[in-house]
């Protein structure tokens, strides 16, 4: 500070104007909100893994008829309860051998299966190929989940928007209804509905959705309340834009993060309910396979043929874990403060 640095004289020219332009260049390029969300999501390794796993499972379900090696409902009673066998590879546990009275016996030979027969995950008590049943079962469970979630959205989102937007007495009445619906344990409503309706896909979807929309409606209502007071929406209102237009143009886009995140938590919930109902025997009727019916069948034989339950249990758990984690990842991506790195 004491000795004054020697600087070439010409450097002391005033340069005001140019500089003001310079300033614009400073700063990281600004991304649009959605791009930013996507970038954050893809930086989250866990979320990416879950997304990949789920994509694979969804793809397999969509192309089940092409991928499944057998008809899931074709029975071959002679080939019942065969252990897993992967081609002619001799991998312990996957070679078609079974412990019988202390000896490892080739179960395929014993059942008199034609040479070359192999079921990767074995067969069930009716000789149906388990792998195919799991593929179809996953497909059915996912269909239930997606449909239930859709119905959830179709009821919950408009309900929440109307309740939050109208406010006042409408809101009070609508909230009372929500309160009552949510004070009955979900599952009991679902079970009651299943008793009243005929067992089957539609009934399950209706039964699950009839209580599921409540959470969505609550969240959407709370957000709508906040959004309603935002300036651009106030402006749109004072300008007399029709409510429908405000809802579709301003509200829904701003609610989308809430909707997407909540959806990720509704799906595992629906999958759980389906599995639960089928497990206690009032869900998907036989012979159709869902993850729930497979678990239920598997449980009956679990003591002796544990693989019959392990496979659907693992798939079910993977779907549940992956959707939950992906939901977390999405929440962090949409709202980085919430996780505060």
């Amino acid at each position: 500070m004491d000795q004054i640095p020697q600087i070439p004289k010409e450097k002391f020219k005033l340069v005001h104007d140019e500089n003001n332009k310079e300033q614009e260049k400073i700063g990281t390029p600004s991304l649009t909100y959605m791009q930013d969300v996507r970038r954050r999501l893809f930086k989250n390794k866990v979320a990416v893994v879950c997304l990949t796993l789920l994509s694979i499972i969804v793809l397999i379900s969509i192309f089940a008829p092409v991928i499944a090696p057998h008809d899931p409902n074709a029975q071959q009673v002679t080939l019942s309860n065969l252990p897993p066998k992967l081609g002619n590879l001799n991998i312990p546990g996957m070679n078609g051998y079974q412990n019988m009275g202390g000896h490892m016996v080739d179960a395929y030979k014993q059942a008199g299966a034609p040479k070359g027969t192999s079921f990767i995950l074995g067969t069930d008590y009716l000789g149906r190929d388990l792998l195919s049943r799991i593929i179809y079962g996953t497909r059915l469970s996912l269909i239930v989940a997606v449909l239930a979630t859709l119905v959830d959205l179709l009821i919950g989102v408009p309900y929440g928007i109307v309740s939050g937007w109208k406010g006042g007495r409408t809101d009070t009445v609508m909230q009372r209804i929500v309160e009552i619906v949510s004070s009955i344990p979900n599952l009991i409503v679902v079970i009651l509905m299943m008793i009243v309706l005929k067992p089957g896909l539609t009934s399950i979807v209706i039964a699950i959705a009839i209580t599921g929309w409540v959470t969505m409606a609550r969240l959407i209502r709370a957000q709508t309340f906040q959004l309603k007071e935002q300036e651009y929406i106030l402006a749109a209102r004072t300008l007399g834009e029709p409510s429908m237009k405000i809802a579709t143009k301003h509200l829904i886009p701003n609610l989308s993060s809430t909707i997407i995140i909540q959806t990720m938590f509704t799906i595992p919930n629906a999958i759980f309910f389906e599995a639960f109902l089928s497990f206690i025997g009032i869900g998907i009727p036989a012979p159709n396979a869902s993850l729930g019916t497979l678990l239920s069948d598997g449980q009956k034989a679990f003591r002796f043929l544990p693989y019959q339950m392990w496979a659907p249990a693992i798939i079910l758990s993977i779907i549940m874990i992956a959707t939950n984690l992906l939901g977390d990842g999405l929440r962090d991506a949409f709202d980085p403060q919430s996780s505060e790195h």
């Binding site: 009552i180 344990p185 009651l192 497990f279 874990i321 939950n324």
Partner: protein, 310 residues
Amino acid sequence: MAKYILKRILYLFLTLFIIASITFFLMKLLPGTPFSNQNRMSADQLKIVKAQYGLDQSVGVQYVRYMVGLLHGNLGTSFQFNNEPVTALIGQRLAPSMQIGAQAMILGTVLGILLGAVAAIRKNTWVDTLATFISILGLSIPSFVLAVLLQFYLAYKWKIYPVALWDNFQSSVLPTLALTALPLGTVARFMRTEMVDVMSSDYIELAKSKGNPNWRVVAKHALRNSLIPVVTIIGPMAVSVMTGSMVVENIFSIPGIGEQFVKSITTNDYPTIMGLTIFYSFLLIIVYLIVDILYGLIDPRIRLGNGGKE
């Protein structure tokens, strides 16, 4: 506060009334009668039985009767199970359900709080990752899957616990464990979020600036503030434990109300289904009420809400 509780109790009855009505009419919507598949009965016999249950009256009369019965704490009579009154069935079977339910809730909450707190304190380390993974497992694996696995390995294969039996504490261990996973996962996750929030709050900063060592910041300030909101998820947790107990009791052959409920469903025992539905709802509403009151008691901001001098 007293006024608030009174109001809540009033709502409780209103909600119960609505639930009972809905349940009643839903049951009446059912095609046929519960006896229609018992064609061993002659027409005369059927008539007698119907009269016995009051099913020969009009739906309106049946409804009024049922509601009046409810007021007297009468949930109707079972079609099965020796035609016992539903209240008696519940009475006999409440204790085992309550025992495993309470054990699971307490164990799950305590472990969940610990897990969540540790994860928050060690945020963004491997401890946090591990804790998060455990809580996600707890949240994601259905209790009935867990129950079957526990039963197979701990009871059947390794013979540490009884397979399916209900007598002493030993026999409650496995069902409790199966039911603990979900509350554990839920609480751990909630606690972590809550505590991470608290740990980054201004008053924690102030507590640190006072010279509080880290453990004291956590023990004196962070824990209490993050624990209070955990109370609010006791209600939803009770629901999930109830749900889980239905199958878990079934798997372990525990003579509880959950097992009863599933049995009634498979045997079309409508009065019992109805009675249990109402009973479950009642339990749940009570839990929610207690939680609300508890929250008011432990959070000074609510406790002294009206005395505040803002």
